[in-house]
Amino acid sequence: MTGWLVAKGGGPVIPDFGQPSACLKRNGWFCTDWLTKHWGDTLQPALVQHIQLTLIAVGIGFAISFLLALVGFRWRLFDGPLGGFTDLLYAIPSIALFQLLVPLTGVTVTTVEIALVSYTLFILYRTMIAGLRAVPDEVLESARGMGLTRLQTFFRVELPLAAPAILAGLRIATVATISIATVAAFLIDDGLGAPIFAAIETPDLFKTELLATGGLAILLALVADALLAALQRALTPWNRLR
């Protein structure tokens, strides 16, 4: 039953083929000996890569969305087309988008990042625009009446007041990216998706690895969400009172 361990030994995810533990021999759900042995060479690197993939995607996505939102907010005419464009990108299934991009950017991290960034735009753009538009008229009128310039009004009033919505969007985009980034392993050997795919592809389904990496992905999403929620509270103390 566990013959494949010996037969296919040698790969990085195949553990201890010399003396597999009892747990591994029966392909248990949670073999701690494998976890401790391969934390350093499999799980941790995958986790770090996953965080990198996510940070880069969300960072670039945030910057692009912000620029688009500036345009869509300042000139309402562009809001419809920009919103529609991010909407369209969001509607393409991720694996299909990877395949569409391969002819352009090859089987590279770039391809993955382009796809991940595309998915953040929809959420970030929409929440930014919604947050900026939600600033009450009387607040804008008093700002104007007190002699704030257009730019001062934007940076001192509109942007801070939109911050709760923007940060809420950032939370959703980050958690969504952490989840979609596991599919990156479809193309490249990066991130938590790689051990998950490897575990699925083993003939007998390597349960410990599957559970451990899947669990790490979930944990990462929860931690990221909690951190951003804390950031949101710290940056907008006034928002809790409303």
Binding site: P136, M146, V157
Partner: protein
């Protein structure tokens, strides 16, 4: 604190919105003397808010001119003009993300005041408008009641000590009891500060109570009458003004005069025993109401400590 109030002149000020029939403000000419409160009042469509917003150029003039201390508003830099004018609106428009201190310090910050000076000024203003300089400065607008918010709005408008204040229905969204108190406090403040104030309201009673002068605007932004409250109540120029101030204008006129303004008959030997009494700073309207309620013909006027000053008869009030 003393301040130099500015004289405000509307000189044929006109606003016409493109594509709309008729003017919103039509050749409005009036002068608000430095240190006085001019109330703009009239039916909706009378252009009173438009006229107010012409002054700080939130709405651009179509024709005519507005001058502050002799200088046309068009000659001022736009942001400098607005920073030099206090602006208070009905919905207050406090910045929800800033504390009371941050809100009040807005214009001083724009003007580049030092932090210490702003902090001191905020404390001074909070005291002036009846808020706690220590506790309230750190609170956010969401933690304040409607009345407190409007006090902060007033303090914010006064922050850089403007010579001119524009107030657009400042107490319109506040319940009647708090409104009356805010009006009283505003008048007390104005007694100290002596700003030039343009005050918009649709409430005739508020106009009579607050205004040194009242400008009544009719539909199409035309000035119907510009006069003291007393003269508007006693000598309305036409039916429109008479209707607008109401059938009870004679009673309203009584509310403008105090018992102390009348010549009192001596209380006599018995000191006016048995007569209803009223303090000397009560209005003639209140005095008449008391006489009607008590079915009496005379009342005893007393000072703050209750000592009799003299007797007033019904006919003294009505004459």
């Amino acid at each position: 604190m003393p301040t130099e109030a500015a004289e405000l002149v509307f000189d044929e000020a006109t606003k016409v919105y493109p594509g709309r029939d008729g003017a919103a403000v039509d050749h409005l000419s009036l002068t608000v003397p430095a240190g006085e409160i001019c109330v703009l009042v009239g039916p909706s469509g009378g252009g009173k808010t438009t006229a107010l917003k012409l002054v700080n150029r939130l709405i651009p003039l179509t024709g005519g001119d507005i001058r502050i201390d002799g200088t046309s508003i068009l000659e001022h830099d736009l942001t400098a003009l607005r920073r030099s004018i206090g602006y208070v609106i009905q919905q207050v428009g406090l910045f929800p993300h800033m504390t009371v201190e941050g809100n009040i310090g807005t214009v001083p910050r724009l003007l580049g005041w030092e932090k210490r000076r702003i902090r001191e000024r905020v404390g001074e203003l909070l005291e002036l408008v009846g808020l706690d300089p220590q506790q309230d400065r750190r609170r956010f607008p969401a933690e304040l009641s409607g009345g407190q918010r409007q006090r902060v709005g007033l303090a914010r408008a006064l922050a850089a000590n403007p010579a001119l204040m524009l107030m657009d229905e400042p107490f319109g969204a506040i319940d009647p009891i708090v409104r009356a108190r805010l009006q009283d406090e505003f008048l007390r403040l104005q007694g100290e500060l002596r700003k030039t104030v343009v005050f918009v309201t649709h409430d005739v009673d508020e106009a009579i109570k607050v205004g040194d002068r009242i400008a009544i605007l009719r539909e199409g932004g035309r000035l119907a009458q510009y006069d003291t409250p007393q003269r508007i109540l006693e000598h309305p120029v036409d039916d429109f003004v008479a209707d607008f101030v109401g059938r009870d204008r004679a009673l309203k006129a009584l509310s403008l005069r105090r018992l102390a303004d009348l010549e009192l008959a001596p209380a006599g030997r018995n000191g006016g025993d048995g007569l209803p009494s009223l303090a000397a700073d009560a209005s003639l309207r209140d005095a008449l109401a008391l006489l009607i309620a008590e079915r009496r013909d005379a009342l005893l006027v007393v000072d703050g400590s209750g000592a009799p000053l003299g007797i007033v008869r019904r006919r003294d009030i009505l004459s």
